[in-house]
Every structure is written in structure tokens, then in C-alpha cells.
Amino acid sequence: MTLFRGRRILAGAMTLVAAAALAACGSKTTDENTSAGVSADVSGDTVKVGLLNSLSGTMAISEVTVRDSIMLAIEEINSAGGVLDKKIEPVAEDGASDWPTFAEKAEKLIREDRVAAVFGCWTSASRKAVKPVFEKNKALLFYPVQYEGLEQSPYIFYTGATTNQQIVPGLDYLKAQGAKSLYLVGSDYVFPRTANKIIKAYAEANGMTVLGEDYAPLGSTEFGTITNKVKSSGADAVFNTLNGDSNVAFFKEYKSAGLTAASMPVVSVSIAEEEVKSIGTQYLEGQLTAWNYYQTTPGAANEKFVAAYKAKYGADKPTSDPMEAAYVSVYLWKAMVEKAGTFDVEKVREASDGITFEAPEGLVTVDGATQHIAKTARVGKVGADGLITEVWNSGQPITPDPYLKSYPWAGGLS
């Protein structure tokens, strides 16, 4: 074999691989130019609802737990008599961690199965993909995960935290602890970039300095340089918006560089109990997270929820914030439907304002204007057992403010 021939072959080979990768990325679009809503099929003695989660692919680890807790809520409601004397019939679809698939399956649930509401989605990318589908068909989505805010849709109920219920309280906590400087580390996509814009605006208004901001591609596992930069910056704390597996590599590198929760704490906003278990408790012990709910949150409603979940899925399965928000979503929808006296989407939306529910995280209230819910903010510390224990809470539910209108420093953001 000559060397030159080898090189030409390799070049051709790489072109082929690149072309195949591009082809795989090409997205399918469905455009049906109907604008009329499809009403749910409620002729029988059951009412269908859609469950739209990634049951395969890279997000499956997180989203399967959400599907499980939605199923738990449906079972509980059914055994208590159902909604408007109808039993709930779940129709589960797999979004496969692929945003165009999410849009396709949403369309299918709404138009073919004629569900009364859909519960699901996790990443902001999947939510952005299904948003036009729900708006076009005038159907309802309940979205249970914290997100970057700056969004509002008449056909989506956001039951996870928006930024003023998670990121801003997390920053308030750091400020109260005396942190004067921050380093921002995140994955390179919409959620971290938007979140960091908000954090920088907050820091500027509150006399904190942001010493650096670094992004790693989703799935990246090389954190040597970022850890070096973080370490030499001497920041008081790190704000971490990394998603998924990158956290594993980041925290391993962090520990081996000699950085600890005592020397430079990390506040994370997308690591919950399930992720702590898979990253490894020894790398996370003592680090901070900001959420609205932990498995350890006190209260009778949570004791009941945790016990029911473990009885159904196994004693070693932790509960987490997005799972709790998903569980609560089903009950909120039930309350809205019962108040409206019908499954009709527009009437359900009108009835939503002021609906309350004694959730595992404490009392939550639906804000009809923004279709977000008032939630209590919490900061917690990872313990040696892998569970997260609260070190601070906001004392009362915080009114959702997705566009941060009540914060003067956030003026230029939306």
C-alpha cells in the first residue's frame, strides 16, 4: 500500500462519515394547514391523556422517571374515581431524545388519539419543537421541568420552576453567604446560555463579579482546561448549568484538581437525586443544588408521595424535582377540569387561575395569566447517602415571573 493512496482513501472515508452524520441530522417537518382545534374524545367512560417522554436515547435516564411518576398520579386518581366520573386512559409515546420525533408524536397524540391533555417533554429543545404543534391544534401540554424562562404559550402549563423560582433564589443564597465572585460553566445550548445571561445581569446589579464563562459541547468529557481556568480564577463559587453526562467528567476533574465544596462550592441547577446517584456521591458530597423539591422535603404530602413511588417502582428509586412537578401536573389538570366542568381546552384554561394543590413540595398555586405556578424555592446540599438536604428555602411560594418583569436589572433580557 502506498501512503498517498491511503490518504486519499481516508479523505474519502471521512467525507462519507460527515455526509452520513449530516443526513442523520436532517429534520422531518409536518405541515398540515389546519388551524381548528381537535376536541378530545370523551364519548366513552374514559378520557385519554398523552404521555410524551424520551423512553430511549440520551435523555431516557431522566425522562423515564418522569413518565413513571405521571403513571403513579393517574393510577391514584383512577382508584379515587377518576376525573368527572371518567377513568383516565394513558397513551404513552416515545420522543426518543429527538426533537422532530417529539413534534410528530405530539401531533399523533392530539389528532389520532384525541387526548384531552399531554404531559411531558424535558429539554427546552423538545419543548420548542412541540410548542407550535400545541398552538396550532389548540391542545394542552403540561411541561414539568425547570427551564430558562422568557417564554409563555397559551397552550402550555409550566409546572417546573422558571428562573425567578430557581436561578435567582440560588444567586440570592450565594450572595447571602458572602459570595462576591462567580465562575459560570455550562453546556453549549439554549438553556445555559440564556440562564447565564440572566446570571450576569443579576451579578452586575448586585455587586458581584463574573470572573469567567465557559461552555462545553453537550456530551463533552474533557474538562481539564475549564477546571484550570476555574481554579486560577479564585472565584467564591461556581454556577453550573451543565447538562447530562458532562457533569460526570466535570466533577471528576474538579475533585482531582483539589477543588472541594469547602474551597469553592458549585451550585448546580440540573442535577437531581437520580443524577447524583449516577455521577457518584463521592464527587458531589457537600455541593449545592437549587430546586423546588427534594426527596427529603418534610411534610405529609411528600411522605405519601415518596412511599407510593417506592412501593410501585422499588425502594432504591429516589424521587426528584421534575418527577414531583410531573406528578403535581396531573392533579392540577384534574382540578382545572373539575372546576370547568368540562374537558374543553379553552374552558379548562379559563378555569385554571387560582387552582391550588397541596403538593409534595408544599402548596402550589396556578397563575392563570402566565400559566406557570407559584412554587417554593429551595437550596440543598448533597449528603453522603446521595440524597439532598435543604439548607435554605424561600419560606413561601414565589409568584412566577417568566420574563423577570419585577426585576429592574433584567430590563434588557427579554
Binding site: 500500500m1 501512503l3 474519502g12 465557559d214 486560577s232 449516577s278 455521577i279
Partner: protein, 295 residues
């Protein structure tokens, strides 16, 4: 200054990982002209071997040490199987080896998903390797990175000795220089190919063990690394151990300096531009094998 030395060490450690991955590839690509896209999945096999051993042997230090030879044999055996079943039928068609091994890599990824589940798994690192050594001046050197560096150095030395001293090594070199002449001289080239594939794939297994110290273990971990490894082999000069070593470290340091001065994505682009520029200047790579082959 502290940062500079820290970054230099980061660059060298990125280089060590690249070297471990590229070493086996350089061997199989140089020897047989086979573009083995399944090399990344052999790395994955090595990583999962470590994971499985850790389920059995709970002392993390021991399971890691035992994983090294076991992963070498497991990945090596997979390589030999691939060679016997498919590649040996395709020696005259290098481009077809690419497509076939790519197919194999997809099958292996799915197999890993079926066996270990699609969520990534973790191993526990021995306590000794989670800490660091503090040098004067506030410089810290991570133990796991040192271990990987030592592993890469060990692999290079072992491979060099094997190629220079052992009869098998002499045969491998003979086949690389002129396959036909080697064949008529009585060297069983088919058997030499198989042994080369065993060693090359086994080295991927060792790389897999090393990677468990750095990040998650998952079905797709190999695909992220395979392109970088090919770049090292091509720039280093195909079939050249010396070139592979130098280029792996050079790219590591270049990547680390780029990352420090700009961002991760921009650094990646810088490295690609540097490679393209280099190949314009020296299309044959850094080192060229003087060969009497007529092919």
C-alpha cells in the same frame, strides 16, 4: 505562571489520552491499510470490562489493575474475531473495510445498549487516583492524569520493544514494508495480520480502561474519540510510531492552549485548521516510511 504549567500539563494529558487511542489504530492502519471504524467500540469494550470487573471485585484499585490485562484480551479477541469474520476478506478494498467496520461499530453500540442499558454507567476510581500531587507554587497535578500518562508511556515502550526485538515484531515490520516480498520470503502474512490486529485492538481496550477514570462509560463513548485518533495517525505519518507519539502530544498541547485562550469549540476549529495547513505542507505526514513496496 502557575496557570501556564497547569495548562501545559492539561495539554500533555489530553495528548496521553489521544496517544493511547491512536496507538492501536496506527498499528492496524499502518500494517494492513484497514480503516477500522470499530476501534472506538473496542475502547468502549475496555471501559465496560472495567465496569463489569468492578461489580465482581469491589476493591477499586485491584479491579482497575486486573482490568488492564483483561480488557487487553477482551478487546483484542474482538479484533481478531472481526479480522477473521470480515476484514480478511476485504484486504484489497480498503474503502469497503470502512463501511463494514462502521456497520460493526453500530451493531456493537446497540449490543452494549441491550446488555448494559442506554444510560451511561460509572466506575469508582481507587482513592489513590482521585487526589492530586501539590507541587511548590500552587501547581497541582492530578493523579488520574499521571496514571494515564504512565500508561501511555508504558504502552509505547512495550510496543517499541515488541516491534524491535521480538520475532513477531520483525515480521510485522517486514509486512508493513513490503507485503508481497514478505510473503514470498516465507512469512505467514495472514497470521501476522491477525496478531497485529489483536495487539492493536487490545491497546484500544487499555485506552478504554484509562477513560473510565475521566468520564462516563456509555455505548457511544467511542464515536467521540475515533476522528481525533485518525487525525493523529494521518498527521503523524501512517505506520509511524514516532510520528504518532509526537503528534498526539502536539495536538494535545495545541488543543489545551487554544481552549485556554478562546473557547472549547474555537480551539477545536484551530486544531483542524492547523492540521489542514500541515497536510498541505507535508501531505505524507510528519514521518514517512521508506518503502520498497510497489503497490
Amino acid at each position: 505562571m502557575t496557570v501556564l504549567i497547569g495548562q501545559l500539563f492539561t495539554g500533555v494529558s489530553i495528548g496521553a489520552v489521544l496517544l493511547l487511542i491512536a496507538l492501536g489504530l496506527a498499528l492496524t492502519f499502518g500494517q494492513m491499510g484497514v480503516i477500522n471504524m470499530a476501534h472506538g467500540e473496542f475502547i468502549m469494550a475496555g471501559a465496560y470490562t472495567t465496569y463489569v470487573l468492578q461489580q465482581v471485585i469491589t476493591a477499586a484499585g485491584w479491579s482497575l489493575l486486573i482490568a488492564l490485562p483483561v480488557a487487553f484480551v477482551v478487546a483484542g479477541a474482538m479484533g481478531v474475531l472481526l479480522e477473521i469474520l470480515l476484514i480478511r476478506r476485504l484486504y484489497a478494498r480498503p474503502l469497503d473495510t470502512l463501511l463494514v467496520t462502521w456497520g460493526v461499530s453500530l451493531i456493537l453500540q446497540q449490543l452494549a445498549r441491550d446488555v448494559f442499558g442506554s444510560p451511561n454507567v460509572q466506575t469508582r476510581a481507587p482513592d489513590l487516583l482521585t487526589g492530586n500531587i501539590a507541587l511548590p507554587g500552587g501547581i497541582t497535578v492530578a493523579n488520574n492524569r499521571l496514571f494515564i500518562l504512565a500508561l501511555a508511556a508504558g504502552a509505547v515502550v512495550a510496543l517499541t520493544v515488541a516491534l524491535r526485538v521480538t520475532p513477531l515484531g520483525r515480521r510485522i515490520r517486514a509486512v508493513v514494508q513490503n507485503r508481497d516480498l514478505a510473503a514470498v520470503s516465507g512469512i505467514p502474512t495472514a497470521r501476522v495480520d491477525r496478531m497485529t490486529f489483536f495487539i492493536g485492538s487490545g491497546l484500544a481496550g487499555i485506552a478504554g480502561v484509562a477513560l473510565t477514570l475521566l468520564g462516563p462509560i456509555g455505548p457511544t463513548m467511542g464515536t467521540n474519540l475515533i476522528i481525533d485518533a485518525f487525525l493523529v495517525v494521518v498527521v503523524g505519518g501512517i505506520g509511524q510510531l514516532k510520528g504518532t507519539v509526537i503528534v498526539a502530544f502536539a495536538l494535545g498541547v495545541l488543543q489545551a492552549s487554544g481552549e485556554y485562550l478562546t473557547t472549547l469549540s474555537v480551539a477545536k476549529v484551530m486544531v483542524f485548521i492547523a492540521i489542514v495547513a500541515f497536510l498541505q505542507w507535508r501531505p505524507q505526514g510528519m514521518f514517512t516510511l521508506r518503502t520498497r513496496s510497489l503497490a
